[in-house]
Every structure is written in structure tokens, then in C-alpha cells.
Symmetry: C2
């Protein structure tokens, strides 16, 4: 898929992350080096801090960066709705406001997830046809990355929300380059087994809906946990509870394994020497699981895209997340979602018309 | 915890696994070498095959093994209820029958999970006070293994089922040696965040119940995915859908990582040499995650214990699973669960009495 539109303006919440303005501005500058063309970044936050950091990276006079001052910061520990109400002049709220009034096409924030999702949903509203937004995450898998939706926006979805997740995820997969241009991403529904009658009630009902929507979604059916990394689905959908638990547990086990391997490989001189000789192998594994490139999870289904970066994002991760936001805007993610929703709507209307006709004939 | 009772009689379904009678009998013989004392194994299945395999391992005349012939085998692909009804003389059904009539204390099967759970629940019934059984799995974690309950028995539990899972899991943790003798296992409830209001409806309601049952369960509160491998809970409880997805996905990612590392380490002569020198490190990581020892998942909460082994279990895994069954019987797992259930019951009655008194006073 080519870049349909070259213009992209992203409002960046500079203040609310764990590492503060320094890491975010470093990432913004990195992204501007990596992404060419007509890009505008509105850096939202403390003007002094932003200027200082821009100077540090030699981007002080870059015309692609605009500063929008905000006097407050929402902390990680604050309660979402309360923070949203009491900190109207926070970098996060101001960034969302800029998207709301049309001054920005999308938002990047590495701040308080709850506040971002709540304020984003309330201020930007869901797209027509979408009841609840969903968080999508690109997960590295050897050979072929995949997208997991929802990783935490909606822990108690209804079956129709799961169909929406499939549409949102498939369109994001196209835009993020998970599938080749023109291809329909293969969508699997995560379950506790693939046999008939397996799954919880939600999964069973979503399975029926998805089977009836194959003209819009390339639905591959139920998949079980083994198939997440051993299979070839481009998009894996699940409720936001399971997705969140899964994503965070996977991060945890990767961290544990990395730590253990490092400890063991450095525990004596022989092992250290061996590790040095086979260093390329460890780098090879790392290269086959490119995590940094996909460190932003977009909140899909709102009228303007919000990309949520990890709270502890470093320069590379911020640049990666910003790259995702730019890609989604340029490739018109939301327009593409709207088209699929229109198809689903049309299908539903046709079905209704046939039913009503049948009813009239029977009367 | 010492061995309270030394006697244990386990009925083993020899036929229904992926690898057939050979692997199961090999595992049985291995377990008899590893576990001393008064053990009896009833090998249930084709008499000829069992005898042949026992001869192979030099256990043909071992008085600890008894053969119970069964003429049928339930295949992995069969539908549970149908298989249960049509194959009354299958090794699995006969093994369950032996436990039902009191001829065996517990059952080990590596066969069709659905059939085992359905027949086990119907024939053996849940313990008084338990509505639904739960599958527990010991998961290796560096430093301190933990138990995940439920990994698939009940995909749509009610909040009270989650409290039962906590009791079942904590008692299993004590018996399996996850905690030191006399210690209360630390129980965490898996959620999509630990802040107030996080979790799906089920988790939120289970959280309230667990908070009110701290005299029976050492409840540590909500934990999120990061804490599964980075934290120190001895027992992690969740619904059977999430648990099953999580367990299988973890197995999948471990398999992927192992495969990738092997490929990379053998891709050229230098790396191969390096890997040879640091071989001890890889063995070290493996030793810190002892998978084989815990390859059986008990179906907890039935009147007789059923241990489910992996369908593809090899000798070591069968021996490990059988070791778990023996341990649970000897350490009187079900008696210990009953005591906790009685405490919960007593607490509920007290509460009711106080409420009724208050009502009478107010009238």
C-alpha cells in the first residue's frame, strides 16, 4: 500500500511519560530523521523544557515542529476521570483537544493509559458504527508479526464489539504493513480450543457473527494458544481482558528469559568466551523479533487516531510509535475502516429487507 | 509437609495418549523407580500390550503393578460425551470406574481432555461445596514455580467458582511443595490492571469475595500480566478461558524461541563453537525451569483426583505426572480442601446468623 496522502500532523504529549520530556523529544527528533515528507509535529507541554530539549538535538529551528504550551502534567498514578476533569491544561488533554478541533490528525502519548483512553473516547467519540474503541498491538513473531486486538480497552465486550475488533485490527494490519498490499489479513479468534462448542459464551457468539461476516473479514476461525506463535494469523482478536493479560505476561516471560540467559552466559569465563563467539546468534534472534519498531499501540475506532506508547519508552520506542501514527494518518486508516463498516451496514440492511419481504409474503 | 499416608493406588489409562501404551508404561516403570513405599498402579488397557511393555522394562512380575483389561480406546478427536457413552469399556472410562468404586485413589490419563473432564465430573462428582472442578498447572518460573488455576475446565465461571479455584489451587500448592511446610501460599487474582475498578466484571466480583475470605485464603489481591513471571505469587487464579489461552501461548512462545536460538546458534561454525563452549549456560537455564517434573495438571475439586498428562507425554513426563498423583494422594489433598471448605461454610453460617439476629432485633 503506497502513501495515499503525504501530509500528517501529529500532536505529541511530551510530558506524561515515565522518562519525561527528554526521551519524548529525543524520539520526536529521531522520527523526523526517519520519516521524510510533509510531517508536522505539535509538541505539547512545558515550552521551556521542550525548547531546551529541541536545542539539545539541533532541532530548535526545525519548521516541522510547533510548540503548544500546556501548564499541567497528568501523573501515571492519577485516576483517569478525575485527572481529565481537574487538569484541563495538561499536555495530554491539550493534545487531544488539538485533534478534536482538527488541528492535528492524530495523537501520541506515553502517559497514563486510563486517562488517555477515557479522555480520548469522551472527547473524540467513536466512529459511527463502532460502540467501543480497541487497543491494537503489533507482536513480533518469527517470520511474520501479528496484531493482537484488544489488549486492554474493553475488558467486557459484547459479541458485536468482537466483530468490530476484527474490522479495526484487519485495517490496522493493512496499514501497518503486516500483509502485502492488496491482501486481506487472516483473522483468528482466540479461544481455549478449536473444537465445536469450545470457547466461553462470548467467543462462541462472536464466532457465529464472524462466520456471517466473511465478505468483510477474512475470518480463519477459532485458534488456540499454541497457534498464536506457531500459526500464521495476521490478526488475532480477543476480549480486552485476555489480550491485556496475555501481552503483559509475554513481556514478563521475555524479560525473565533474557535475564536468566544473561546470568548463565556470564557466570564463568568459558561461558563468556563462548557467548562472545556466538554473539551473532543472539543478535540474530533479536533481529527476528523487532520489538522497538512496534512499540506503539493505537486506540482504534475513534474519530481521530490515538497512539499509546509504553510509559517507559526510550528514544527508539517513541520514534517507532510516532512512525506508526504517521503511517496510519498517511494511509488513511480511518477511511478504510469506514468502508468496511459501510459494507457491514449494507449487509445488515439487505438482510433486514429480505426478512421484511418474507414476512409480508407470509402475512 | 511430610507424607501423611504412605499408601497410594493410581489407576493409569494406558491407551489414549498420542504415543500409545509404550510411553505410558515406560513412564509408569520410571515412576516406580523414583517413588518408594506402598504404591500400587492399576494399568488399564489392552492386556497384551501392557504385558509386552512391562516385559520390555523388566517390570512384568512387579507386584506393585496390576493389570485391568479394557477393550476400547477413546481417540483424541472423539467428542467427549459421545465417546463416554459409546466406549464404556475404554481404558479411560474403566480407570475412572475403578476410582468411583474405591479401588483406586486417583487416576492418571494422557488421553482426550474433554472426555476425561466430562466423564470425571459426571462419574466422580464434585466435592460438597464445589460447583465446578478446575484444572491446575504448575508453571516453571525462575526461582519459584507457581500454580495457575484454572487452565481450562471452566471457561465461564461465576465469582464463587473463582473463590473455589483459590482454595483448590492453594491446597494443591501446599501438596505439590510450591510453599514450605506450614506456609500459606500467596494467591493472586489475574487482572488487566491493579488499580481500583480494573478487571472485567467477573474479576471485580471475585476480588470482593476473595477479600472477604482472607481467613482461609492468603489473598494478595489483583495482579497483572507483568507480575506472573516477575512477581512472587504461589498461586495465580483466573477463569478457565484466560488460563488456557495463557498456558498454551506460553508453550508456543517457548517453542518458538528455542527453535530460533537453535537455528541461529548452528548457522555457522563460529557460532557452533561458541555455543559448545557456553553449553552449560543453556543447560543452566533449562535447569532453572524444570518442566518435566510438573507435566501433569490435576483436575481439582472432584471426589477423586484426576491428573491429566499432556497428550504427547514422553516417559519422563508420564513419570512426573504420576509422581504428582502419588503426592496428592499421600498428602491427602482432598481432605485438606474439605477443611478449607468447611471454614468457608462456617463463616457463611456465622454471617447468616448475625444477619438473622440483627433482623430479629429490628423487628
Amino acid at each position: 500500500m503506497g502513501e495515499i496522502s503525504s501530509k500528517a500532523c501529529i500532536a505529541v504529549d511530551v510530558m506524561g511519560s515515565d522518562r519525561g520530556a527528554g526521551a519524548i523529544i529525543a524520539g520526536v527528533c529521531q522520527a523526523l530523521k526517519e520519516n521524510k515528507g510533509d510531517i508536522k509535529i505539535i509538541a505539547v507541554g512545558d515550552e521551556g523544557e521542550i525548547k531546551e530539549n529541541l536545542r539539545l538535538h539541533g532541532f530548535y529551528k526545525d519548521s516541522r515542529i510547533e510548540i503548544h504550551h500546556a501548564s499541567q502534567v497528568i501523573e501515571m498514578s492519577e485516576k483517569p476521570i478525575q485527572a481529565m476533569r481537574s487538569k484541563k491544561d495538561s499536555s495530554m488533554m491539550r493534545a487531544i483537544d488539538l485533534a478534536k478541533i482538527g488541528a492535528a490528525d492524530a495523537i501520541l502519548s506515553c502517559g497514563n493509559t486510563g486517562a488517555l483512553m477515557a479522555a480520548g473516547t469522551i472527547k473524540l467519540r467513536t466512529m459511527a458504527g463502532i460502540e467501543r474503541p480497541a487497543l491494537g498491538a503489533v507482536i513480533p513473531r518469527d517470520g511474520k508479526n501479528f496484531i493482537l486486538v484488544d489488549v486492554g480497552a474493553n475488558p467486557d465486550p459484547r459479541p458485536t464489539n468482537m466483530l468490530d475488533n476484527a474490522i479495526l485490527g484487519a485495517n490496522y494490519a493493512r496499514v501497518a504493513g503486516i500483509v502485502e498490499e492488496g491482501k486481506m489479513p487472516k483473522v483468528g479468534l482466540l479461544s481455549n480450543g478449536t473444537e465445536d462448542g469450545k470457547g466461553n459464551m462470548l467467543t462462541q457468539n462472536a464466532h457465529i457473527l464472524l462466520n456471517n461476516s466473511k465478505n468483510v473479514v477474512n475470518y480463519a476461525g477459532l485458534i488456540e494458544g499454541f497457534q498464536v506463535f506457531q500459526g500464521d494469523c495476521d490478526v488475532i482478536i480477543c476480549d480486552g481482558f485476555t489480550g491485556n493479560v496475555l501481552l503483559k505476561t509475554l513481556e514478563g516471560i521475555m524479560k525473565m528469559l533474557k535475564g536468566m540467559l544473561k546470568e548463565e552466559l556470564t557466570s564463568n569465563i568459558l561461558r563468556k568466551f563462548g557467548a562472545l563467539l556466538s554473539m551473532g546468534a543472539f543478535q540474530g534472534v533479536k533481529n527476528r523479533l523487532p520489538v522497538e519498531k512496534f512499540s506503539g499501540a493505537p486506540l482504534l475506532g475513534l474519530n481521530k487516531l490515538i497512539v499509546k506508547g509504553h510509559g517507559s519508552s526510550d528514544k527508539a520506542q517513541v520514534a517507532g510509535a510516532l512512525g506508526i501514527a504517521i503511517k496510519c494518518v498517511r494511509r488513511r486508516l480511518n477511511e478504510s475502516i469506514e468502508k468496511d463498516l459501510a459494507k457491514i451496514q449494507l449487509e445488515a440492511e439487505k438482510k433486514k429487507a429480505v426478512e421484511s419481504e418474507t414476512r409480508n409474503e407470509n402475512e
